[in-house]
């Protein structure tokens, strides 16, 4: 049986065009962009070209606002710790939504340990940030508020423009983690009113090992890494030119493909959701309409997510889950608890994230595999028996 990859949220294959474009930086164009000789200048040219391509994807004012990092995690850390530490003069309050990625929540928690006040903003059962609560929580002492563009586990897209208005009324910075959204949803940092925005190379079908932080002109930030002063001093360390050039090219391709590919994915996604919800005891997680075009997430009564993942893998289909049993901490996904699921409900989650390689013709096989998986695991489960009896 041919492999059907349905875990694009975890990792995406590198676009062949991107690899072709960037591989020369691994093979022979190995100059350091800080060097003034010809090889160095060639690397510098590639670096600045990538910056311009990424800026264009999110409609940044110009390319100077883009800082390359080693990952989206690093960009999130830089945005949050950088903004909080640099703006202590304004206050020591920070805030984030309850469904942020660990690379946002953990830096916030670390700040909290060091005397900052960290406010968690709740979301509703669809995963939409509670705007009233947001308004309530932000004070004149709040330096940075972090709300993601779209959530990786439940696919919900947040009303960023409205959020921005509330955050800016109090004079706080808005940081937006757009890792899951960029390249799939039209992002306009100027129109949306975003001060700091995180991007990931791999989530654009670029190579792993690069991320980027958009920093709006005038935003005050303290660097995390000190050294040779690369990336305007915001991120010292010799640039990973292969990954960065790849990320730039991936951003360019993603921008060109976005409209057409988005429509194609959306059709597939809707079909998958429609068919899977026919299964008894299946539920959609996240927002029914305001969701990422490639994202279909569910939970099933009476069965456990890691078993679902393993069982689907037997059909050569790779999926992901927010189940505790598959997490490093053995705790269920914070996102699923934040939308109001009980531990028991959160255990039965399955996330399908489709991508460029998936075709409409695969849907029949996917649905069949999910149905058989659910049926088989329910036959094994003592919980389903009780319902029937």
């Amino acid at each position: 049986m041919e492999n059907i990859y349905l875990d694009h949220i975890s990792s995406r294959p590198i676009d062949p065009g991107v690899l072709e474009f960037a591989k020369r930086f691994l093979e022979h164009d190995y100059g350091n962009p800080s060097s003034l000789h010809s090889l160095g200048l060639e690397a510098k040219r590639a670096l600045e070209e990538a910056r311009a391509k990424v800026a264009e994807l999110i409609n940044a004012e110009n390319e100077h606002g883009i800082i390359f990092t080693g990952s989206a995690t690093e960009a999130n850390n830089l945005a949050i710790k950088g903004a909080a530490l640099r703006n202590i003069g304004k206050g020591k309050d920070v805030a984030a939504s309850a469904i942020e990625h660990m690379s946002v929540l953990n830096p916030m928690k670390e700040l909290q340990k060091n005397g900052f006040t960290f406010n968690l903003i709740p979301v509703d059962s669809n995963g939409i940030v509670d705007l009233e609560k947001l308004d309530e929580v932000i004070t004149k002492n709040t330096t940075v508020v972090s709300i993601m563009y779209a959530n990786n586990e439940i696919g919900t897209v947040e009303p960023v423009e409205e959020i921005s208005k509330i955050v800016h009324e109090k004079g706080s910075y808005l940081h937006v983690d757009a890792t899951a959204a960029a390249g799939f949803i039209q992002i306009d940092v100027q129109a949306d009113g975003i001060d700091l925005l995180t991007l990931s190379s791999n989530d654009l079908y670029g190579p792993q090992g690069a991320g980027a932080l958009y920093i709006k002109h005038g935003t005050k930030l303290q660097p995390l890494l000190l050294g040779g002063g690369q990336e305007r001093g915001f991120r010292s360390g010799t640039e990973n030119i292969f990954a960065i050039a790849g990320m730039g090219e991936a951003a360019r391709i993603a921008r060109l493909k976005m409209a057409k590919e988005g429509n194609r994915l959306k059709k597939m996604r809707d079909r998958i959701i429609q068919e899977i919800l026919i299964i008894e005891g299946s539920h959609l997680t996240g927002h029914p309409t305001q969701r990422l075009p490639y994202h279909a997430s569910f939970r099933f009564d009476h069965i456990e997510g890691e078993s679902i993942l393993l069982n689907m893998d037997m059909y050569n289909m790779q999926v992901s889950t927010g189940s505790a049993c598959s997490s490093k901490t053995l705790e269920p996904s914070q996102v699923l608890l934040a939308i109001g699921l009980t531990h028991e409900q959160a255990h039965g989650s399955m996330v399908l994230t489709i991508g460029r390689s998936n075709k409409m013709e695969e849907i029949f096989a996917i649905i069949k595999a999910v149905k058989e998986t659910v049926e088989r695991l329910r036959r094994l489960s003592p919980l389903s028996k009780k319902e029937v009896m």
Partner: protein, 149 residues
């Protein structure tokens, strides 16, 4: 090196678990875990002359929860109940060619479920003995009554 993922044997037992199901009026029944933690196991045993003759299970949980349940039924079937009480979580994991470290505690409950089923069997057996004793006395009295009629 830390074990990465599940062994082949775990996957075999996950994909084709042995002795799945329930037994009506079992000689022993054991239940451990709870759905909030993500693992729940139910074991049913039939016993003859203190030897486990049949065994079934149902499990809600991850891959290792299902595989360990299946494995423990394989190990315990045909065993004297006192021997089966000695099966440990480690025995089960070893028979499966090991479990990832984080799974050793949370989802390796199958041996515990087996022990619960055996304790239930022993409890029932004791109760039966007690009631048969009682029944015996009643029977005598009954016979006496009959005789009087």
């Amino acid at each position: 090196m830390e074990q990465i993922g599940y062994s082949k044997k775990v996957m075999e037992h996950f994909m084709s678990p042995k002795n799945v199901g329930t037994i009506k009026n079992p000689d022993g029944y054991g239940k451990v875990g709870n759905p909030v933690c993500g693992d729940l196991m139910e074991m049913y045993i039939m016993v003859k002359d203190d030897v486990i003759t049949d065994m079934k299970f149902q499990t809600f949980g991850c891959g290792s929860a299902i595989a360990t349940s299946s494995m423990v039924t394989e190990l315990a079937k045909g065993m004297h109940v006192d021997e089966a009480m000695k099966i440990t979580r480690n025995n089960v994991a070893d028979e499966l060619d090991g479990l990832p470290p984080k799974k050793m505690h949370c989802s390796n409950l199958a041996a515990d479920a087996l022990h619960e089923a055996i304790k239930d069997y022993k409890g029932k057996k004791w109760l039966k003995k007690e009631t048969t004793k009682g029944k015996g006395r009643n029977a005598d009295r009954g016979a006496g009554n009959k005789g009087m009629n």
